[in-house]
C-alpha cells in the first residue's frame, strides 16, 4: 500500500523528483572528478535508468506515442477523416445492432427485483405452449415453495361502451402490479385481498396511454362506472406512466382475472384444465435458482397428472426463462440475433479490410519517415507499437463516432415505433463496453497486420494488399446476395399468387369457445350466422375453419419425413374451405360434409411423403387421403418449405371455428353488415371481424422493412468496398507513376497502360466474388424460412448482386486508373 502510494507521489511530483535526481548525479560527478576520475559518463542515461525504478516509463512512452500520433493524424486530415468516417459506419452498424439486442434481452425491466422474475412455459419433448390452464397455474402458486409469487395474464378484446374498436384488455392476477412494484398514477392498482375475494365488486385499472387518449387524461374518471361488454364496472385507478409490463404485454385496460366470467359470459377460463389460457410468470423465492424451481415444478406437474391424467402431457415439464427483460428470448430469436450479428460483423470486416489497405498504402508513403526513425535507433518493436497506437487512436475516435451514429439511429427508431416509454437510446455500460471491445477488435483487424508489415519494412508486398481486396469483395458480395434474395422474396410475395385468394375474404371470429358454447350450441349459432350471411347480396361462399388464415393462432408439427426435417401446418376445415380460399384441388376431391377419417394434403407434402406415387387412398396417420390441394402457406407465408395437411372439421371443433365470407367484389362493405348480423344473433358475443387483405398487407410491410434494412446494410458494405478499391487503385497508380510514364513514352497504348495498372486487382476481385457467392450459397439455407418460397439459390438474385458489385468495383477502379493516362510525361520523368 505504502509503496503504491509513494509510486503515485513520484508520478505527481516527477518534475521535482527528476530535478533532485539530477542534482544527486551532478554532485556525484563533481566528487568523482575531484577524486581524479573524469570519465563519469552521461548523466542523462543514468537519470533515465534510475527513473525506471519509479515504474512509470511505459507512461512516458505512451505519452510520446500519443503525441506523435496526434501530430501524424492532424498532418493528414484527409486520411484521418476518411478513416474515422469509414470506422464510424462499420462500428456504428454493429453498435446499433447490439444496442437493440441489449434493449430487448439484457437491460433489466425497471420493475422491483427483475432478476428474480422467470417466465414459466409448458413443454414436453413434442409440444411447446406459451399458455397454461389457469387452474394448474394456481396449483403451482399454492404449492411451489421455490416461488414466492405467481403472476398470470390473459389477453382479450372487450368492447368499451359503444366504441367501434374493441379495447385491448389484459386479465391479470391481482398481485400483478404489486409484484412489479408499480404505483398508481391516480387512484389505486389491483389488490389481491380486495379484488380476488369471491364477492369483490368488478373493478378496472386504465392503461395510462389509453386514459389520456380515450378519457382526455381526466383524473376524475377514478370512481366512475364504465361499461365493458355492456357490463358496468368501476374505474379504481390509472396505471403509472410508461408502466413496464412483462414481455412487452401492455394493455389499454387491466382487469382481475378472477372476474373474467363476469365480462365474458360463460367463460370457463378459471376452471378449464384442458386448455391453456394464461401466460405465467413466477418470482423466485430468496436464494432459489431457476433450476431448483424447475425441479420442484416438475414434481408438482407429476402430482397434477394424478388429478388430471388426461390433461397433463406425456413427459410434461415447466421450463423457466429469465423474465425480467423487455422480451423473453426464445431460441429462434437467438438464431435471428446471431444472423444479424454475422451480417453486421461482415460490415466490420469490410471496414477493417478497407482501412488495412489504406494503412499499407500510407506505409509506403511514410517510408522515408520510418527509414529515418529506424536509422536514429528506433527498434522495430517501438515502430510497431507506435503504428498500433495510431490505429488504436483512430479506432477509438471512430468508435465514439459510431456510437453517436448508433444513438441517433436508435433515437429515430424508438421515436418511429410504439416502443415502451422507459426504453432509452442512450448507451449504458454494456453498450460502452461493447464499443470499447469493437474498437480493440477493429484495431487488431485493420492495424495489426499493416503495422507488422511496415515495421518489418515489407509494405511494398502486393500479396497483403490483394488479400485485403479479396476479403472486402467476398464480404460485400455475401451481403449483397443476402440483400437481393430478401428483396426478391418481398417482391415475390407481393406480386405473385401466394396460392390462395385473400383479396375478397372477410374473417369473423365469434369466440364461441371463450364464451362456453357447447358444440351443439355452437353448431346452431354458426348455422344461423351462415344462412344470414349467405343471404347477403354479393356473398358467394361462407366457410368454417379452425385456424384462420393469417391469424393469431398457428399449429405446427415439426416432424421428419423420410429422414428429413419438415414443418407441417395442420388445419381443420369444412367442405367449402378450398372454394372460399381459392385453393385448387389438384387431385381427388374436397371433403364431404361431416366426413370422418379423411385428410387432404398439400402438393408438396404429397410429393415428400410418397415421392412418385399416387397419394390418393394412402393412409396419412389414421386418415385416408382423399385429395391433394395446391400449396397455400396461409399460416406460414414466409416459409416456402412449409407443408399443409387438412382434416374435416368435426362437431367437437365447432366452438373454435372461424367463419370466412367470400364476396364477389371488394369485401370492405361487408364488415359493418357482418357486425350488425352478429350483434343481432347474440349481443353478448363480441366477434373479431377483419379483412384478410389487410392482414396480408401488414405481413408484407414487415417483410419489406426487413428487406430494405438488409439492402441498406448491403449497400453500405458495397460503398465501403468501393471507397477502399478507389483508394487502393489510385494509390497503386501513384506508386507506379514512373513506370507508367516510361511505358507511355515507349509507345504503350492506353489499353495496355490500364491493363498494367489494374492487372493486380483482377484475381483478388474474381476470387472474392467466387468466395462470397459460395459462402452465400452454403449459408443461405437458414434463410429459406424467410424467403416466401424463393429458392435460396435463386439465380436472378445472385446474378443481380454479382453484376451490381462488378459494376461498382469496375467504376471504382477505372476512375482513378484514368489518371494514369493523363500523366504529364515530362514532369514525371524529371521528378526525383
Amino acid at each position: 500500500m505504502g509503496e503504491l502510494f509513494r509510486r503515485i507521489k513520484y508520478l505527481i511530483n516527477r518534475r521535482r523528483m527528476d530535478a533532485e535526481l539530477e542534482s544527486d548525479l551532478e554532485f556525484h560527478r563533481e566528487m568523482a572528478a575531484r577524486a581524479g576520475r573524469g570519465n563519469f559518463g552521461g548523466t542523462l542515461r543514468l537519470r533515465e535508468q534510475s527513473r525506471e525504478a519509479w515504474g512509470w516509463t511505459w507512461l512516458d512512452r505512451l505519452a510520446q506515442d500519443l503525441s506523435y500520433t496526434a501530430r501524424t493524424l492532424v498532418r493528414s486530415p484527409g486520411f484521418t477523416l476518411t478513416a474515422v468516417l469509414v470506422l464510424a459506419i462499420g462500428i456504428g452498424v454493429n453498435v446499433a445492432a447490439f444496442s437493440l439486442f441489449n434493449m430487448v434481452a439484457l437491460v433489466p425491466l425497471p420493475v422491483r427485483d427483475p432478476a428474480s422474475l422467470v417466465r414459466l412455459e409448458r413443454r414436453s419433448p413434442e409440444i411447446i405452449s406459451g399458455e397454461m390452464p389457469y387452474p394448474t397455474a394456481m396449483f403451482y402458486r399454492d404449492h411451489a415453495k421455490t416461488l414466492s409469487g405467481v403472476l398470470t395474464m390473459m389477453g382479450a378484446r372487450l368492447s368499451l361502451e359503444d366504441d367501434l374498436e374493441p379495447a385491448k384488455t389484459n386479465f391479470v392476477s391481482a398481485n400483478f402490479f404489486r409484484e412489479l412494484g408499480a404505483v398508481a398514477a391516480y387512484g389505486r392498482l389491483l389488490d389481491a385481498e380486495r379484488d380476488e375475494a369471491g364477492n369483490a365488486p368488478p373493478v378496472v385499472v386504465l392503461g395510462h396511454e389509453f386514459w389520456v387518449r380515450r378519457f382526455g387524461a381526466d383524473p376524475a374518471i377514478v370512481g366512475k362506472v364504465i361499461h365493458l361488454n355492456r357490463k358496468p364496472v368501476t374505474v379504481v385507478g390509472v396505471e403509472p406512466y410508461g408502466f413496464p409490463s412483462l414481455d412487452g404485454q401492455g394493455a389499454e385496460i387491466w382487469l382481475p382475472i378472477t372476474q373474467q366470467p363476469y365480462f365474458v359470459e360463460g367463460g370457463k377460463v378459471l376452471t378449464d384444465v384442458s386448455n391453456g389460457s394464461v401466460r405465467v410468470w413466477g418470482r423466485l423465492a430468496g436464494g432459489v435458482t431457476a433450476r431448483q424451481a424447475e425441479q420442484e415444478l416438475l414434481g408438482l406437474t407429476n402430482e397434477l397428472r394424478q388429478q388430471y391424467p388426461k390433461d397433463i402431457w406425456k413427459n410434461e415439464y415447466i421450463r423457466s426463462d429469465p423474465g425480467g427483460h423487455l422480451h423473453v428470448m426464445e431460441p429462434e430469436m437467438y438464431q435471428v440475433a446471431e444472423m444479424v450479428g454475422v451480417l453486421t460483423l461482415l460490415i466490420l470486416a469490410v471496414t477493417c479490410a478497407n482501412l488495412g489497405g489504406l494503412q499499407l498504402a500510407r506505409g509506403v508513403a511514410r517510408e522515408r519517415e520510418m527509414g529515418i526513425r529506424l536509422s536514429l535507433g528506433a527498434s522495430a518493436v517501438r515502430i510497431f507499437r507506435q503504428l498500433l497506437t495510431e490505429s488504436l487512436v483512430l479506432a477509438l475516435i471512430g468508435s465514439a463516432a459510431g456510437m453517436l451514429l448508433a444513438w441517433a439511429v436508435l433515437k429515430i427508431v424508438l421515436a418511429q415505433t410504439a416502443s415502451p416509454v422507459w426504453l432509452s437510446a442512450a448507451p449504458d455500460w454494456r453498450v460502452l463496453a461493447f464499443v470499447v471491445a469493437m474498437a480493440l477488435i477493429a484495431t487488431l483487424l485493420f492495424g495489426f497486420a499493416p503495422a507488422l508489415q511496415i515495421a518489418r519494412q515489407r509494405q511494398r508486398k502486393t500479396l497483403a494488399r490483394q488479400l485485403l481486396v479479396g476479403a472486402q469483395i467476398a464480404a460485400s458480395c455475401l451481403l449483397l446476395i443476402v440483400a437481393s434474395l430478401l428483396v426478391r422474396a418481398s417482391q415475390h410475395a407481393l406480386y405473385t399468387n401466394p396460392g390462395f385468394g385473400y383479396e375478397r375474404v372477410v374473417s369473423i371470429d365469434p369466440g364461441l369457445g371463450q364464451h362456453g358454447y357447447t358444440p351443439a350450441a355452437a353448431g346452431e349459432y354458426l348455422g344461423q350466422l351462415r344462412s344470414r350471411l349467405e343471404a347477403l347480396p354479393g356473398v358467394t361462399v361462407v366457410s368454417l375453419v379452425k385456424l384462420a388464415p393469417l391469424g393469431h393462432s398457428i399449429t405446427r408439427e415439426d416432424t421428419e419425413i423420410n429422414g428429413q426435417k419438415a414443418s407441417i401446418y395442420p388445419n381443420w376445415v369444412d367442405e367449402r374451405y378450398f372454394q372460399a380460399m381459392e385453393i385448387p384441388i389438384l387431385m381427388g376431391r374436397s371433403f364431404l360434409p361431416n366426413e370422418k377419417n379423411t385428410a387432404i394434403v398439400s402438393e408438396a407434402l404429397a410429393r415428400r411423403q410418397w415421392p412418385g406415387e399416387n397419394p390418393l387412398g394412402k393412409k396419412y396417420g389414421e386418415n385416408t387421403v382423399v385429395g391433394v390441394a395446391g400449396n397455400a402457406h396461409v399460416n406460414a407465408m414466409n416459409d416456402g418449405d412449409s407443408l399443409e395437411s387438412y382434416y374435416s372439421a368435426q362437431p367437437a371443433d365447432l366452438p373454435d371455428m372461424v367463419v370466412l365470407v367470400k364476396s364477389v367484389g371488394a369485401p370492405d362493405g361487408l364488415t359493418p353488415i357482418a357486425k350488425s348480423i352478429v350483434g343481432s344473433l347474440n349481443p353478448k358475443l363480441f366477434p373479431e371481424i377483419s379483412l384478410l387483405k389487410s392482414r396480408f398487407r401488414k405481413d408484407m410491410e414487415q417483410v419489406e422493412l426487413v428487406a430494405s434494412a438488409v439492402t441498406l446494410i448491403g449497400l453500405v458494405a458495397v460503398a465501403l468496398a468501393a471507397v477502399g478499391i478507389l483508394g487502393l487503385v489510385s494509390f497503386s497508380v501513384s506508386q507506379r507513376w514512373k513506370e507508367i510514364a516510361i511505358r507511355t513514352a515507349l509507345g504503350a497504348t492506353k489499353a495496355q497502360v490500364l491493363r498494367a495498372v489494374l492487372r493486380q486487382f483482377v484475381w483478388p476481385v474474381a476470387l472474392g466474388i467466387a468466395a462470397g457467392a459460395g459462402i452465400a450459397a452454403a449459408a443461405s439455407r437458414v434463410l429459406r424460412i424467410a424467403l416466401y418460397g424463393v429458392s435460396n439459390l435463386d439465380s436472378a438474385s445472385y446474378a443481380a448482386a454479382i453484376l451490381g458489385l462488378m459494376a461498382i468495383v469496375g467504376l471504382a477502379a477505372l476512375l482513378p486508373a484514368r489518371r494514369a493516362l493523363r500523366l504529364d510525361l515530362a514532369t514525371t520523368l524529371h521528378y526525383d
Binding site: 542534482s23 544527486d24 554532485f27 556525484h28 563533481e30 543514468l46 534510475s50 525504478a53 519509479w54
Partner: protein
C-alpha cells in the same frame, strides 16, 4: 555501464541494498559517500557502479527503507542525504539474519564436504 578507474569486483546480486542499509545505519549519507564507504569498508574489494547505485536508491526510496533530505556536503554544496527509516532498519535486521543463516549453511557445506 560507465566504468570507473579503480578496479572493482562485481557485487553479488541483490547484496547492494543490504550494504547500503548497513552503511546508513550509523547516520545519513549522500550518494557519493555511500559508494565510497562501501568501497573503503570492503578494503577496496567491492566497488559500487553509479549505474547500479542510483536506480537501487530510487527503488529503496519507493520501498520506504530510506528517505532523502537536503543537507550540506563537505564541499559546502546542497546535496541530498539518505537516511534509514524504521522500516529500513527492520528490513536490514531481517536481511542480516537471513544472510547469516545462508552463509553459515554454505560454510558448513564447504567445511564438511
Amino acid at each position: 555501464m560507465p566504468m570507473s578507474d579503480t578496479p572493482k569486483s562485481g557485487m553479488p546480486a541483490g547484496a547492494l541494498p543490504m550494504l547500503i542499509l548497513r552503511v546508513l545505519q550509523s547516520g545519513s549519507l549522500h550518494g557519493y559517500a555511500i559508494a565510497q564507504r562501501i568501497h573503503l569498508l570492503s578494503s577496496e574489494v567491492l566497488g559500487v557502479e553509479e549505474g547500479l547505485l542510483y536506480p537501487t536508491l530510487q527503488k529503496m526510496l519507493l520501498k520506504g527503507w530510506v528517505t532523502a533530505e537536503w543537507g550540506i556536503s563537505e564541499t559546502n554544496r546542497k546535496v541530498r542525504c539518505y537516511r534509514l527509516t524504521p522500516e529500513g532498519r527492520r528490513h536490514l535486521k531481517a536481511e542480516l539474519s537471513d544472510y547469516d543463516r545462508v552463509t553459515q549453511a554454505i560454510q558448513d557445506i564447504l567445511r564438511t564436504a
